[in-house]
Symmetry: C2
Subunit: 457 residues, 2 copies
Amino acid sequence: MMKSIVSSKYLACLVGSIILNLLFIINIYVGGQWKLSWSSRAAIEAETVAAIYCSGHGRAYLDGLVVVGNKPVCDCNTCFTGPDCSQFIPHCTANADGGDPLFLEPFWMQHLASSALVVAGWHQMSYTYSGKSFFSEELAKVVRKVHASVGNAVTQNRFIIFGAGSTQVLSAAVFALSPENTSSPAKVVTSVPYYPVDKQQTQYFSSQKFKYEGDAYRWKNRSDCSITNMIEIVTSPNNPDGQLKKAIFHGPNVKTIYDHAYYWPHFTPIPAPSDEDVMVFTLSKLTGHAGTRLGWAVIKDETVFNRMMIHMQMNSMGVSKDAQLRAFKLLNVVLEEGTGIFDFAYQTLKSRWERLVQTVSLSNRFSLQENNPQYCTFYNKVRQLSPAYAWLKCEREEDKDCYAVLEAANIIGRQGNLFGVEDGYVRLSLVRTQDDFDILIERLHKLITEEDGDKTM
Amino acid sequence: MMKSIVSSKYLACLVGSIILNLLFIINIYVGGQWKLSWSSRAAIEAETVAAIYCSGHGRAYLDGLVVVGNKPVCDCNTCFTGPDCSQFIPHCTANADGGDPLFLEPFWMQHLASSALVVAGWHQMSYTYSGKSFFSEELAKVVRKVHASVGNAVTQNRFIIFGAGSTQVLSAAVFALSPENTSSPAKVVTSVPYYPVDKQQTQYFSSQKFKYEGDAYRWKNRSDCSITNMIEIVTSPNNPDGQLKKAIFHGPNVKTIYDHAYYWPHFTPIPAPSDEDVMVFTLSKLTGHAGTRLGWAVIKDETVFNRMMIHMQMNSMGVSKDAQLRAFKLLNVVLEEGTGIFDFAYQTLKSRWERLVQTVSLSNRFSLQENNPQYCTFYNKVRQLSPAYAWLKCEREEDKDCYAVLEAANIIGRQGNLFGVEDGYVRLSLVRTQDDFDILIERLHKLITEEDGDKTM
């Protein structure tokens, strides 16, 4: 009897132990981790750094600053400091300046497993893909799929070229559309308010081929324009004001570049797929990866495409394959997730815009850009802009320098005159981190309510 | 008795099972893999693709071409084909054209674990590092360490800037060194034989600021040069011939850019650390990662540095952070391995050069560049060049078009006239895959021995 109890205890232990063994075996062999060899060290390293706690107000990077010892430190959001970014800096300045698209960071933090990337040391060392092109065919395929799934651009029978962000792609397009042998340079124009980089970049690279000629409206109806080569850059949705813009110039001597960086359903209704001659897009405003520097153009004409290829060769011998690989990975996640990233981004920006409207509407001192509803084929409904930037106007006569008004209230925006208009306007970025946006709203609210306080005095 | 046997069998099984459990626990918890969570899927994916068998004549890439189904196919070396690159293509053309530095690929295949890289989806999304610069301070630190360990450049109290390969960095330097307000553009010169890209790029971007003016020797001793702004690009070691070159022009109106892409101990003796005003380097010819597009300049003057920063902003809003991260990882391996990568690369190129010399010496029809021994401070010995390129001369009167002579023998080199000299010269690349080099030697050997056959007829 005693022995039989012992035996059955043994048996129970044995069965338990065997089950545990089976679980381990299943875990190891079915879990897939059994396969890992050369990538383990790097994976542990990356996960260790990613696990560094930064209080939700920062994050540590694999190549982040190393202050003491060997471990990267937290990279804190504006207005936060301390080893774990937990200390709020009182009275700090709200940064609403640049278009750093960190509003999308939480999406990627929620999609860790699918968006991670492992790169072998010997990965893609060559200048080219299979000895052919500087540009990945597989990436171009994914880009076409993304456009098809969103319905924002026609890519069938179109050429696709990549560059270091839309910045390099826009420049390549200007060079490529300029006449080769001409006595007078092509006039490059943009209509106010325009994206400042178009002006600065065109002026910087100006040559006998092209010259920046300012606001497009200034040239409208001038007779000499019908004989001159014109290149119009149309930023649509526009930066700063988010409006869907159309070209001002048309005709045989006119070339048009559509900068569609913001033509994605998180920023704007998509009335129809764009089908322009040269359309420029960027990963930065689609997935939020500005630092990757990966933009592309969708091009109708083969000659223009070939000339842009030459530009990319002359300028930088193609574009980083590491950037192309990263884009390939991220865009595949975009496709896998269906409407996921657009829903996330749209909801975020819509809620930011609504909070901003609510805050600004407390006063008559400021106004925002128009926001007329339009039908969006992506969401199959009428909707408003959920723009990347607020185009804020100071309405009072005495607030001529709107930038200074905000600066005095501890808010840094971008001055209206950079966009070719008077300083009654300021651009406020709505695409930065949630911290940046929250502090912006707080500062704006304070500015507006204190103003009410002044009034009642 | 029977029961006791059963019991002891149970006991043995139990003990065995418990030991197995312990082994699993040790394996999982001490092996370190227990930590892996979000990176596993990507790691398995990368290792699976890397394990695709390509017969040693190719490799499969994560973003490689997908022909059927979902799995990337082998990317085969020149002259090899088939699903696993096992089929040799008879009579195929030897490719000795471009400078694709695949000779370093085996080094990275031998250092899999240390050179692997894992990137989180949310890694470095911002344009800048910590809101400050487009360029990674941590990468700059590693670059300084590499130069210090090799002794090829002085970097203390120098500025470092990154760009998309030396191509973009060289262009940034030309723009930055051109006078701002001038009636006559700076003359950009290079001495023959020169690196063709310098000419092509300068001509492509030429403006009122600078103009390409051809061979430097042509301008030497001309009186008007003392009053004109000159920019001389000195490629040293030179591309095509590997010689350590010095500037031809000196004086208050002369700016010099040293292209030191090949100033590493695998290509050349290092007589002393270079200490020039503007020195340009590239990952491509150091680690072999041409596709990453990551070059840098070491700069003495702050104004020049600031102007190059503006160029990088205007041109591409900085440089891909993915490229910077990859470079950071790879250069850290370079440092970890001491002289490892240089030894590997030097031995490979030395042996290639010796095989080439042996082959060419079988005939008087061809000759190679001079290769005078010099003291190398890195190896503490007198040694010869182990150059990246052979600068082959066709010695016979009737072989004026040396490129055509080689082409007829199924060898593609790069025509001498691209380098500013007559077509009696051809550049042959010695830095490509081992397959490319082997086939080059085979074709050359055949050409030379058949020629002997002709002679004996």
